[in-house]
Symmetry: D2
Subunit: 297 residues, 4 copies
Amino acid sequence: MQIGFIGLGNMGAPMAQNLLKAGHEVKVFDLNTQAVETLKASGAQPATTPKEAATNVEYVITMLPASQHVKAVLTGETGILAGIAKGITIIDSSTIDPVSVKAFAELATQNGNTFVDAPVSGGTGGATAGTLTFMVGGTPESYEQVKPVLQAMGKNIVHCGDTSTGQVAKICNNLVLGITMAGVSEAMALGEKLGIDPQVLGKIINTSTGRCWSSDTYNPFPGVIETAPSTRGYTGGFGTDLMLKDLGLATDAAKHAQQPVYLGALAQQLYQTMSTQGAGKLDFSAVIKLYRKKGDA
Amino acid sequence: MQIGFIGLGNMGAPMAQNLLKAGHEVKVFDLNTQAVETLKASGAQPATTPKEAATNVEYVITMLPASQHVKAVLTGETGILAGIAKGITIIDSSTIDPVSVKAFAELATQNGNTFVDAPVSGGTGGATAGTLTFMVGGTPESYEQVKPVLQAMGKNIVHCGDTSTGQVAKICNNLVLGITMAGVSEAMALGEKLGIDPQVLGKIINTSTGRCWSSDTYNPFPGVIETAPSTRGYTGGFGTDLMLKDLGLATDAAKHAQQPVYLGALAQQLYQTMSTQGAGKLDFSAVIKLYRKKGDA
Amino acid sequence: MQIGFIGLGNMGAPMAQNLLKAGHEVKVFDLNTQAVETLKASGAQPATTPKEAATNVEYVITMLPASQHVKAVLTGETGILAGIAKGITIIDSSTIDPVSVKAFAELATQNGNTFVDAPVSGGTGGATAGTLTFMVGGTPESYEQVKPVLQAMGKNIVHCGDTSTGQVAKICNNLVLGITMAGVSEAMALGEKLGIDPQVLGKIINTSTGRCWSSDTYNPFPGVIETAPSTRGYTGGFGTDLMLKDLGLATDAAKHAQQPVYLGALAQQLYQTMSTQGAGKLDFSAVIKLYRKKGDA
Amino acid sequence: MQIGFIGLGNMGAPMAQNLLKAGHEVKVFDLNTQAVETLKASGAQPATTPKEAATNVEYVITMLPASQHVKAVLTGETGILAGIAKGITIIDSSTIDPVSVKAFAELATQNGNTFVDAPVSGGTGGATAGTLTFMVGGTPESYEQVKPVLQAMGKNIVHCGDTSTGQVAKICNNLVLGITMAGVSEAMALGEKLGIDPQVLGKIINTSTGRCWSSDTYNPFPGVIETAPSTRGYTGGFGTDLMLKDLGLATDAAKHAQQPVYLGALAQQLYQTMSTQGAGKLDFSAVIKLYRKKGDA
């Protein structure tokens, strides 16, 4: 298939590579021309504008940092909507707020196109390995239509419901994630201070009602889980600034929806403190440092 | 074996029954004489004081609501220490603060006895079925010694470390539990308001990084997990007032240990609000009601 | 002077009336034609578009609910910038986020105009009485220039610094206000439950280090301050939804500035809970209801 | 008058000195014999036990760090109750929890004595100058009786209501104080980051609805209030660890009274973080450091 791909960052670049590997023809655009060159070397067709990338293709995929970038790429003079043929579907894999998704879908509809939100989980590792999870918001027909395309880049393609529910699913999951990680951090640090061996405590929690991904797979205390970022100095993994962005989306969405989010808003401040103190690039499980003495391993 | 058992409440009574079923001889005491009569009918020997229950036995087990009750039963004129033979081990399965445990262990040592903390998880269901988890704090020798006794009442007998670490393990696990349940409640209620089907959202979280016992086993949104209290009107299960008690122990322990517990302290206020509003007897997953409109199922 | 005035709501209408009383000629616009008619009856000149209201005047004043309204009124096809003469100053008295202020000021500058932020405090009472406080962000020259105009509507005209610092001052003050009111509510409700006469407690706090406007002027406990909204059923005053809007601006500004705001974010959830439960129109001091039993006076 | 005084720490020593200055005969006791010697040099009569200090006096005053010390001094073998004559009133100026006060009052009554709680505010400066505020809990008769004694040490002697309401008043006031100080810190740090001059912001808040003692008298931002601890490196003043103790009393009292205290519990964690990071001896207004970059003045 012919696919336009816009946004070749840490996530977008390997995703586009996987589309090429699956045999698709891919037109790529990014403001970073070096990123475009790299994809070109792998067989992609370079485009000089989003409009060009969206012309004469069967699908357009966007993978961008934030809502304003999607808007610019979509509606600018040399944007997607200026080049795309009627009937073509735009798949946005960026993580953005649900309100913007609805607005973009409205614009697409007015232009004769379909806009599907399909944010991902799985990180850069999943993007490279082609094992991402896609959370898809759109009609059942749109879901069936985009599924084969997304399967070239991911393992689980989940239909979440109507337009914007892909973002809702991602935001709500990461809201739980941000809270559980900080909660496990509090408990592990408290246990350590009260004299229990953190390795023992980790095992007990992981077979009890406190069990959660933040403890049994990604435990913030070094050494409890050998493969977790905490055991390698909080490098790699899912950065604190990315968690902060997602909690920001969650509390914003809650504000618009007039829903209280007590723990989410508090967790956001904890990660904000980490980021303000210069730890924004560390894995988000480094939030445990707020609870432990300086200099602890 | 000859075992003295003090405290025949919702948990203690079925635990004592299981000791009898396993063939032990059990002397029982409770201020509630009706509870004593019921155990007597099952073959237990009634005692009129803790002292009497602790006389001529090989183990003494206590299962009481709070620290002050353990203290009274241990040190009163007609208390355990007044009747117990030297060398006998006292197993306290109450959930109390680690600081008190250390003080009680000191008193026991002065009296020529050993005090082992062994709080449980598994609720009244586990107590009746004999499938409790015991979290044991004491020397490796004490652990090996009490293990066979506890196995008559539970399935998992976990050694947590030195004296008081059984309580530390329980408190830390329930700290995570109280936080994750409120966190999942926020996310499920937010998702509902943002238009995703809660059943779909539950499934996505349960296969993603937000996965936790509070979501995949005990989800607070009605219908997501058929066997959860939320699906039967928040009846049965682990009461809000019990969660509130455990979070109180956690924040108290943190205060003494000079550790911050941001999310734990906030979660405590949320359950306190539920209790103050009259919902203290509902399962603690009813905390989701704070986030949903009145009258929602 | 000739003044264009856009936005004739609960605040804007009496402000425009005061400009008329002071002898200014005022061209008014609002989407609500009834509001325009009322001002016309008082001597104002009606305009059918913001552009018309901004044509042939010496100042343009806007008083609108939110950032998007200011943007629309400023940049629309029939907006202010389409009609205003070069060199004229636009005074925006809306309460909006500082980031938008800077963007609007930039647009104004490109159009040959000056944009001054001048949000107010004092409520509808102050707007009617002409006793508002204006917090002005702009150059010292702009401040001196707009001061005489604002004095027709307010008593204190405070220069806060460069563009957008008027909004910063208002947001930061109301951040403190939202926190102190909820804090006083917690303390008054706790004191009541612990058995002290709330009237006595109020007096003690008001002569001690807990002294604050939220206690000595606007105490949330009924009867402590006779003139406070709490004493008249939480009617009148500053609505919960307005406080919620301002705390939303504060936490948004903090997010953009990468600053943690722990108490502000939590206070926001408390007022959100009030609003979600249907109390958004009550004075914000009604937040004490979250801490007292239902049915308490 | 003949007065027994027990507890000669930073507060108690100058209070006892003021009693001597007022012409009273004072018998003093402290575990710290050096403190006793110093008072002896000023004319006090040294006692070797609390019992001795309480024998043949008309009043007994205690000024101790925490509830357990009051209990020990009151009920020990060589404690107050063992030496005091029937009918004599005990005045406890320690800051302790209201529940303990009631228990102590009950013990005193059984012994034929009256126990009055009279915690103070005003710090070591007020203790030395004799300008403390005493918050008195007891019957109107007890209040009238102790007033002349307290006037030798303080300026304001406030009757708060029945036994324990003195503590309730102090705890509730300091709950507000701890919250407002952290709230003002958030707002000042946010304003600084958003570009307003903190001196200007302080002035605006202090004449607006955010006005409070924590801003207009004790502003945490250096330079806003010349006489505040913030302006002299957060030295002197009211230590973070003391604020932490009082917030601990407040949240404990709330737990026992089954009252939620959202902001109080969160503020407690903020001061706990300061203390854990080694800043427990700094004035509590140093909490603003949590919101500002390291190295800022």
